[in-house]
Symmetry: C3
Subunit: 290 residues, 3 copies
């Protein structure tokens, strides 16, 4: 008998479920997409039960859950609740992927881009806007590779908290925090770094060009801002391994191709088993083959 | 010319339309499913008009409506309103199925299970939790077969009302009501019964094992509770014609296979004509061929 | 590589997105339909971005937006906002169609029907209920053909405003306004007209039969009321070029076949390019080939 159609249940924490995530799911070749908006930990149980109590354990790898929405914290809370209602011990489980605000796929794609040019196990990195959802994910992936990572933020206490959280979850991580409140703080933060990734709020220049060009060791600069101006001055959104002042540059669109491939690859991997949880690390693990 | 795609319009009275009902519809092979949550008698007219005013009468058997949601009373009210807006006299109608909370398919499957082991036209039955949506449907189907039925409930007046309603709609029904407030009331209620079906609230033991095993005439015990403990002590959720203390036992999961087959068969029957209304009796009528 | 699946993003200003528009999209053969209800200018930006930032410019003709809902003014406001978020200069655009309340396709179909019997460049017309969404569209299309058009309405000042708006957007339009508050006003308004189209509120007879039959020049009478009684007395909903008292008559259902063809043709045209905006005139332009 033929396999059952593959169903992706899109649980979105925003009122209107993301068109972006639906289109990517269609283009990944998924047969059916059930899209739900306004999903919360309070109303999600019946949706999860509907996933696991309809098909037999042998067919449940053809049903999967995608968690998205603009609020990454809400997405993480929803993932935690969804997992409570899965019953993997009885085979009654479906795989789940989290990519609220594209944070996981964007961070994974950015680190993948850097890894094409430098040895991530040895280099020293600076993550500007390092306390936002994308920034802290980039920092975590870099720390897992073994290099030194400096979390830059306008709020030093938040950067300290992110650094402590990474150290708690990544044994031996070499992570520190720094206050980077304006462009003037950049030279000190950038000192000795081979890689800088900017994931800050839109419209704020975190690294002026003059400081970037003055840096002797900087090899790769990646900016993840989706709208101009970029946080790293002189980088264009479409830069993809572009040469800028002798440095290798990536902009958000330049990283976007890899991000999209990772997103689709993760969606397809969901349907390879019925117990996967695809969060940051699992999505990043798909980099090698995509 | 090829037939038009089969469209199922899922009208759900809950805010988020049931994933369960959507998956079953996909697995029944329906081409397109339009899922609506928060549907009420007040906002349903335009949805029904959208069904009947788009395709010509010759094609309307390829559009159908499914009414679901956790609130069975709300589902019944919605069905009544939907029917007001169909125009079967002009050929402008679509078929409609009601299965809020799975009550119709569950009751039909439970009675079908009993019918494999006893002659439903002759036996005496007890329905515990007989005033809930599933219980009263089980009682009604049993009464239609002609046997004696006792409606057991913690609230005698509600059981009386259910018995009266069945007698009003099933000419010659042999239905009575009894107060079954705790396990201690079970022996009296069970006296002389060949079949007991429990459809009560979760977590309440309605029939302790000692009384069940003491019953000399009891042949079949069916428990419809989806989570442990079962209302009939000693029955497992997965029991499917299992032998328990010399009696034949079914649990909710054991009945689930038949329930799912009836659900899919009813969905497919919707598309065989454009004027069907598939409620309890019509769904139960599919038992023979499924 | 095969073309990507065609996706129609249905943005509906009502809480529950139209079943009618979804069925038509299915029957037009569109692969996937993403249906959103409760869409407003305030929440639409992310939905539009999800359309244009997922597929490359070469594939964006396979994604399109349909704007619908019962409130035509709200649909027009939504179209204006959607267009702000498209970036056609960068190739990042999708085609958009507006047909809130079916107003564009209905008006286009009504004028197409008239054009089969009279020379629209030369005749004199009366549009009853000419200030409603359908009526003013019918008047605009008639004015563009070059004939004389009289806008009839119970509120003369609103009719004046519609006439002025048409004159502003259609250079040289021959449009005038008249107060037609009851059937008694009809003879004067009808004097010298070859065509009358009624698009008024349901249940109001705007043109009594005696005045219609007394008119010597009237050749074609079209009533767009979907429920009896028709605004033009003596016309049946199903009339399709029917002879009524020596005049050619159309009712809403008689016009409906053409309306449906135009709706489907417009949906398919959406996917021929990624920068089309299909509003009244663009939909009417499809009449010749449908």
């Amino acid at each position: 008998m033929a396999d059952k159609p593959r169903i992706l249940v899109q649980l979105d924490t925003d009122a209107l479920p993301s068109v972006f995530d639906r289109v990517v799911a269609v283009d990944a070749g998924i047969d059916r997409i059930f899209s739900y908006g306004g999903v919360t930990p309070q109303n999600v149980m019946a949706l999860v039960h509907g996933c696991i109590f309809t098909r037999g354990p042998a067919d449940l790898h053809n049903t999967a859950i995608f968690i998205g929405g603009s609020d990454v914290d809400a997405g993480e809370a929803l993932l935690a609740e969804v997992r409570k209602h899965l019953l993997p011990a009885f085979g009654l489980s479906v795989s789940v992927m989290l990519d609220s605000n594209g944070a996981n796929t964007t961070a994974a794609a950015a680190v993948a881009a850097a890894g094409r040019h430098v040895d991530l196990t040895k280099i020293s990195s600076l993550v500007l806007g390092g306390t936002g959802p994308v920034g802290k994910r980039v920092a975590k992936l870099l720390a897992r590779h073994g290099g030194k990572v400096l979390i830059g933020s306008r709020q030093k206490d938040r950067a300290d908290a992110v650094a402590a959280a990474i150290q708690a979850s990544v044994p031996g991580a070499k992570v520190e925090a720094a206050s980077v409140a304006s462009g003037g703080d950049a030279p000190t933060a950038l000192d000795g770094r081979e890689l800088v990734v900017a994931a800050g709020a839109p419209g704020v220049v975190l690294l002026p060009r003059k400081y970037r060009t003055a840096s002797k060791r900087l090899k790769v600069a990646i900016d993840l801002n989706g709208v101009p101006p970029t946080g790293i001055e002189g980088i264009e959104l479409t830069d993809k391994a572009a040469e800028r002042d002798g440095q290798i540059a990536y902009g958000a669109i330049g990283v976007g191709g890899t991000k999209m491939k990772l997103h689709k690859a993760a969606l397809l991997q969901l349907f390879s088993a019925n117990k996967l949880v695809l969060d940051l690390e699992q999505i990043y693990a798909l980099v090698g083959s995509n």
